[in-house]
């Protein structure tokens, strides 16, 4: 199972699921990272974390640790 933290910059992937329950999952989904949405990995912060992604047409930053919960295909 591939997760978002493993995707190199410049790639576009489709979200297939989000691991976990409750607040963390809801927060990630509230921001538009839902099953079936396209995510473009834009860049990595200068210190190697977090990453910047494009989803639903806007820019979002997420820590690799949280990106680990997002399964992609």
């Amino acid at each position: 199972m591939k997760t978002l933290n493993k995707i190199p910059c410049g790639d576009t992937v489709t979200v297939t699921g989000i691991e976990g329950v409750g607040p963390v999952k809801r927060r990630i989904m509230d921001m538009g990272i839902t099953k079936g949405s396209q995510v473009f990995v834009r860049k990595v912060a200068p210190l190697g974390d977090p990453v910047e992604i494009t989803v639903k047409g806007y820019e979002l930053t997420i820590r690799k640790e949280d990106a680990k919960k997002i399964q992609v295909g």
């Binding site: 927060r27 921001m31 949280d66």
Partner: protein
């Protein structure tokens, strides 16, 4: 008749600009009951009977974040007559997500498609009338920055306020809609609480919303029946009910946006993208960041800011102080009254007010950085480093400002969304040596270490080390333990800051500081003056025979292990609570030197006799880390919104100071 209209929308949707435009100068800023989240209210321009309440900027109405719960409770319990939903039209998909939730509350909604100017500039088209038909509520195109569409918006909202209910929007899949209808039936019989809209309630029950369940206390049978319905849906979609609802909301939005929003396909990089390429570039980001921070620091604390300190000193000390002094003498005022007003109050409040222009310049820069979208990038760039110590990337700004003055630094912590990160930042920022502590360091370096260049910088180093060390340790204590909140943050498009918004922001912060200086400091300086000028028999005496001196003599033994168990050091530490540079003038007063500066030879000589190098260094360490001045404590109280946290923090800082000064003295004794 009076109307109540709530303003709801995502952060960065231009909500504040709309609120300012709609209410003009009638706004009133307070706090939501029991929390530090700001609550703004105002009256609609030209309609005194229409009240506008600005809800916190939120992305969703989930039960998990403080701001979201506040907004939810307000909508459910106060039931405004209408909701104006500000939608950033240039980021329409994510913004409409909140809209779908607001439409469920049953309160009439008016959607303001804001930032239409940006949409047009990008070459996109939004068919707002189709969108309105689809959502079942009025949709008004606006551009708050340009001031267009706002009167249409106000009229639409007032018209909506007369309507009874918002028509429901059936956006879920057939299976889920069927489930919701069944739950609505069950809830109708089981729930007597009439404040909830039935469909909203049914959706919350389907989602298994903890806050709603807590309030309702459903009978077991009803709760079980509802869980069964939800579980059969969960099985079908292989996901939990809450996630099914979220996913289907976004699917619905993607559908209508696809139909009614035409994006300019040939679009190249937007100007915002180009700026971002440079500012968060892998190699350039850090140098540019440091350059911007240095620029802010240099202008507001050093060059211009430092100049203004001199101006205000002249203004307050010579003009106001001198003028009032002449007045009092001419009026034949008693000596004690003259002393109270000139030395106590004007001196004390003045010591704090000298920082006002410096603060205003700082606040101006912070507001600009926030408004143009760079502040979010600061968090992006610094997050990795700071989260190791339980802080957030945004903690860098307060720490930097802290080298100037802790008061604006503590106030700047407001930009940190996460509650734990913000509290930790407030607790640790005062460890960074502020400008007012420098004269104290200069005094002791002058007395004991005139040739050792490392001593003064070692204070900065120690301050930073203590921030890191405390962060690492506190992270493991109960209030800060637990799962870190997910760091999922929007990076808003860069935009040109609007002068008016920036100035309003700056003024609000500056005003808060001045009010504090005018109250807490006013009382505190009066009290300290009294203790320093009178003996227990209420005779005006020399400082060395005053009440404060006798308190100092009682307290002093506590400091024997730190090497400075003399009453003068104790008294100076107490008066230092007014403002840290007062420590220097207090030593001056106690040695009978008028108008002592930190380089005064007599003062240096006296200090040299009272302390030795090791105890002198320990005193510097203690001054660096112990409780900050009253103004900073007041700022902490305001930002924590809790005396318990404030006093706990002061105790933590003073305790840390004691331990570190003890270590410094005991080690110093061996080497110095």
């Amino acid at each position: 008749m009076g109307l109540k209209i709530a303003l709801a929308g995502n952060p960065n949707s231009g909500k504040t600009t709309v609120f300012n435009a709609l209410t003009g100068s009638t706004q009133y800023v307070g706090n939501w009951p029991g929390v530090t989240v700001e609550k703004k209210e105002g009256r609609l321009r030209g309609h005194k009977d229409v009240e506008i309440i600005d809800l916190p900027g939120i992305y969703s109405l989930s039960p998990y974040s403080l701001e979201e719960v506040i907004a939810r409770n307000y909508l459910m319990e106060e039931t405004p007559d209408a909701i104006i939903n500000i939608v950033d039209a240039s980021n329409i998909e994510r913004n409409l997500y909140l809209t779908t939730q607001l439409l469920e509350t049953g309160i009439p909604v008016v959607v303001a498609l804001n930032m239409m100017d940006v949409v047009k500039r990008n070459g996109d088209t939004i068919h707002s009338s189709n969108l309105s038909a689809e959502l079942g509520c009025p949709v008004v195109e606006t551009s708050a920055a340009k001031g267009t569409g706002l009167s249409d918006l106000a009229n639409a909202a007032m018209a909506a306020g007369q309507k009874a209910d918002q028509a429901p929007l059936y956006l879920f899949s057939d299976t889920v809609e069927r489930g919701i209808t069944e739950i609505e039936q069950i809830a109708k019989d089981a729930v007597t609480d009439s404040r909830y809209n039935p469909r909203w309630l049914a959706i919350k029950l389907f989602e298994n919303d903890e806050k709603v369940l807590e309030n309702l206390r459903l009978p077991d049978r009803a709760a079980q029946a509802i869980r069964q319905i939800a579980e059969s849906c969960e099985k079908e979609y292989d996901d939990d009910a809450e996630s099914i609802v979220t996913t289907q909301r976004y699917d619905y939005i993607t559908g209508i946006v696809g139909k009614h929003v035409v994006k300019n396909r040939k679009q190249k990089l937007t100007p915002s993208d180009k700026i971002d390429r440079v500012l968060t570039n892998r190699w350039l980001a850090l140098p540019i960041f440091l350059l911007i921070m240095w620029g802010v620091y240099y202008v507001s604390i050093q060059s211009i800011g430092d100049m203004t300190i001199g101006w205000v000193e002249t203004l307050i000390g010579e003009w106001i102080g001198g003028g009032v002094s002449t007045l009092l003498v001419n009026a034949g005022a008693a000596e004690w009254l003259h002393s109270l007003i000139i030395d106590g109050i004007i001196g004390g409040v003045g010591a704090v007010l000298v920082f006002v222009p410096q603060l205003m310049i700082l606040f101006l820069f912070i507001s600009i950085l926030e408004d143009c979208g760079y502040m979010a990038r600061v968090a992006f760039i610094m997050d990795r480093l700071f989260r190791k110590f339980g802080l957030s990337g945004k903690s860098f700004i307060p720490m930097l400002i802290g080298t100037g003055c802790s008061v604006p630094a503590i106030m700047a912590s407001r930009t940190i969304e996460n509650d734990k990160d913000r509290k930790m930042t407030i607790m640790l920022t005062p460890f960074i040596p502020c400008g007012a502590k420098l004269p104290v360091f200069a005094l002791f370096v002058g007395a004991f270490f005139p040739t050792m260049a490392w001593v003064a910088p070692s204070m900065y180093l120690l301050g930073i080390v203590m921030v890191i060390l405390s962060g690492v340790i506190l992270k493991r204590t109960r209030p800060f333990r637990g799962d870190p909140a997910p760091f999922v943050m929007e990076l808003p498009a860069y935009r040109f800051p609007r002068m008016k918004g920036v100035l309003i922001h700056m003024w609000e912060r500056g005003k808060a500081f001045m009010i504090k200086a005018g109250t807490i400091i006013f009382v505190a300086s009066g009290a300290i003056w009294f203790l320093q000028s009178f003996s227990w028999s209420l005779q005006m005496v020399d400082a060395s025979e005053s009440i404060l001196a006798s308190i100092g003599r009682v307290v002093a033994p506590i400091f024997i292990p730190l090497g400075f168990g003399n009453w003068q050091a104790a008294v100076a530490s107490i008066t230092g609570l007014l403002a840290k540079e007062v420590v220097v003038s207090t030593f001056g007063v106690l040695f009978g030197i008028a108008e002592a500066s930190e380089s005064d030879p007599t003062l240096l000589e006296n200090i040299g006799q009272l302390f030795n190098p090791a105890s002198g260094y320990a005193f510097m360490v203690f001054t660096l880390l112990a409780a900050p001045c009253f103004a900073a404590i007041g700022a902490m109280r305001r930002e924590f919104n809790s005396w318990k946290w404030t006093l706990g923090t002061v105790a933590f800082q003073t305790g840390t100071a004691y331990v570190m000064a003890l270590i410094a003295y005991q080690i110093g004794r061996l080497f110095l």
